[in-house]
């Protein structure tokens, strides 16, 4: 199935499916600026980013710390507002949306996977996975069913009643991915999802993300420091000084 792209990297792992240039745009960003603070604390974090993410793309976001990639992810996740520039999500202008509207945008279209997993403590895996559906007003029976399906998909159906403290790091991250999937988002934003995991668990998580992208057509934007992780993606964005300096396949960007 992945023979076509297997030649690009050593075939030790699977790679995200390529997306046709004609695929519809999920995100369109033009001239995005973000400025923090004033005076001594003034930071120009983004200095005019332009890019398009297509439906079904798996994008790795890279760059040294302070390059603006985290700020970019916050904009993309509608957690923050740009100082200047335009951001269309499926053709909707996100820029003028208020706090509550951005919350609703996240609720219905965006999901997050974090480096530190960020599951609710003392709460079972099942309840954690259900959480986005509660905010969506899904009834309890349907919620349970859907959450169980998602846990089964990440291979943790038998851990449904375990709390995060009773799960290993890799398992916690899989629960977090299940949680991100329950709401059937248009875009998953993953912030160093393998940052706290050893290489074997990291590979597991990356395989899972790639599988979701290939099989379910999920769009994924993933921040990572590690070229090995970025190699799973179909496209890499390299941030430097608040700008996308390089944009292409992992082979093109990382050499």
């Amino acid at each position: 199935m992945n023979a076509a792209v297997a030649t690009a990297r050593p075939a030790s792992h699977s790679v995200a499916a390529p997306v046709a240039a004609t695929a519809p745009a999920l995100v369109r960003i033009e001239g995005l600026h973000k400025v923090y603070g004033a005076g001594d604390t003034f930071v120009h974090a983004l200095r005019g980013v332009d890019l398009t993410l297509r439906e079904g793309e798996f994008v790795a976001v890279m760059g040294s710390s302070g390059s603006g990639k985290s700020t970019f992810m916050n904009m993309l996740g509608a957690l923050d507002r740009p100082t200047e520039g335009r951001y269309w999500f499926r053709g909707v202008d996100v820029g003028p949306l208020g706090r509550d509207e951005r919350a609703l945008l996240r609720r219905h279209y965006l999901s997050f996977v974090f480096q530190s997993f960020n599951l609710l403590p003392r709460t079972t895996a099942l309840e954690n996975v259900e959480l986005p559906l509660i905010y969506r007003g899904v009834r309890k029976a349907a919620r349970r069913k859907r959450a169980m399906e998602m846990l089964a998909m990440v291979g943790l159906a038998d851990r449904a009643d375990h709390t995060p403290a009773q799960l290993s790091g890799g398992q916690q991250q899989r629960v977090a991915i299940a949680r991100a999937l329950t709401a059937d988002p248009a875009l998953i934003l993953a912030d160093e999802p393998t940052g706290n995991l050893d290489s074997a668990r990291s590979a597991e998580i990356m395989e899972l993300l790639v599988r979701l992208q290939r099989e379910r057509g999920l769009t994924i934007a993933m921040v990572t420091h590690e070229p090995e992780m970025a190699a799973y993606a179909g496209r890499v964005l390299w941030f430097e000084d608040g700008l996308v300096k390089r944009d292409g396949t992992p082979a093109e960007v990382l050499g």
Partner: protein, 401 residues
């Protein structure tokens, strides 16, 4: 998110930290508990006073010679009443039952047992006016009243002291120097402000006047208004009549007093009300202190759960939903505390009234008010922490360690 889900979520959050939740609500438990206890004991004491005074008889007026209080607090000397005064009241004031009485203290002796008690000389009207029922035997008959016959009815205490479980009716008891035949035993009445209402002997008025006291004076005339709500009118009529009969000039003070038992009862009850309000107010302060306790812990909780708030916001919770979550949590905590406080307060005051031999009165109003207030405390003191939570920046909150 639906209200029910918010509620369930709040319950989950609370059950995750049971001990902390209990300690948080403890202030409210104590506050509500003490309000409930104070008010219930107060109301029970008031009811007890009411009951005692009602047990004296309905619409009772007590007419006594001598002004209530002379200058300097001394009782001024005044001539006593006689039977004619009582008859005048009975005939000239409408809708009354009149019972002239004279009392003295005497030693009652039966066999080798003696018992000091009070002896009241009265007519049969006395039993109606004072609401004394006869447990066994009979009342006086006309000839006994006229002839100053040596017959008597015993109060249950006297009967018990002299006869134990034996039969009293028909026996001969010596009262002072007078040997008299027991014709009946009264039914028990409630204790009256520390004095035993059952510790008495009743004889015909003339028997006491002539054979025990040696005067024809009537010391006290009990008057009961036959119709409810007419005591004030009856009191006025009696005062006017007695001033006329005793030739008191207009403007001069009465040399007798007509006291309305109900008025006394109301005054005592009023004092109890003030005490209740005072104690209730003090207890209410502890409710506020409890509220501050809730605010304190909720603020800590918001800080501690900053990351959780960040996660919820990232998932798509709006500010108002986060606000509601924390507000509902504090309201659930405070009403839970209120409910426990109500249970403890009602239970505690029930036991206390039992111990104090007071009638227990449940005051549903105050229970409702206490519950409402504990919920209100949750809203008021939960609002600041909840608003703080709702205004967090999701990015900052997610980074929080």
């Amino acid at each position: 998110m639906s209200g029910w889900n918010t509620f369930v979520m709040a319950l989950r959050a609370i059950t995750r930290h049971k001990l902390r939740a209990f300690l948080t609500a403890l202030g409210i438990v104590i506050g509500v508990g003490s309000v409930i206890t104070m008010v219930h004991i107060g109301q029970s004491a008031k009811q007890s006073v009411r009951d005692q005074i009602a047990s004296l008889g309905d619409n009772l007026l007590m007419v006594r010679p001598g002004a209530g209080r002379g200058p300097g607090g001394a009782r001024s000397a005044a001539s006593g009443f006689d039977v004619a005064d009582a008859e005048a009241i009975a005939h000239q004031v409408q809708g009354v039952n009149v019972a002239p009485t004279t009392s003295t203290n005497a030693l009652a002796v039966y066999g080798n047992v003696n018992w000091p008690t009070s002896v009241t000389g009265a007519t049969n009207a006395y039993f109606e006016v004072r609401d004394h029922a006869v447990a066994e035997g009979r009342l006086f008959d006309e000839s006994e009243l006229k002839a100053a016959a040596p017959v008597c009815l015993l109060g249950p205490t006297v009967k018990g002291e002299l006869f134990r479980d034996g039969d009293a009716v028909g026996a001969s008891v010596r009262v002072g120097k007078l040997a008299c035949t027991v014709i009946g035993v009264l039914e028990s009445k409630q204790a009256m402000m520390g004095s035993d209402g059952d510790d008495l002997i009743v004889m015909p008025l003339r028997t006491v006047q002539r054979r025990l006291v040696g005067t024809n004076d009537v010391q006290m005339i009990y008057v009961s208004a036959l119709e409810d709500g007419t005591t004030a009118r009856v009191q006025e009529d009696i005062e006017r009549l007695l001033r006329e009969r005793r030739r008191i000039r207009p403007g001069a003070d009465d040399d007798f007093s007509v006291r309305d038992m109900k008025e006394i009862a109301d005054r005592v009850a009023g004092t109890t009300d003030v005490m209740t309000a005072l104690l209730g107010a003090i207890a209410a302060v502890s409710l506020v202190v409890g509220g501050i306790g809730i605010m304190n812990i909720m603020l800590v909780s918001v800080t501690e759960r900053t990351r959780e708030i960040g996660i919820r916001m990232a998932i798509g919770a709006r500010g108002r939903e986060v606000l509601m979550q924390f507000l509902v949590e504090s309201v659930v905590l405070s009403t839970l505390g209120g409910a426990i406080g109500i249970a403890l307060g009602v239970g505690g005051s029930f036991l206390a009234t039992e111990k104090l031999a007071l009638p227990f009165v449940l005051v549903p109003d105050i229970v409702g008010v206490a519950f409402f207030f504990s919920a209100a405390v949750g809203v008021v003191f939960g609002f600041v922490p909840a608003r703080k939570a709702s205004r967090l920046d999701p990015i900052e909150a997610l980074r929080h360690e």
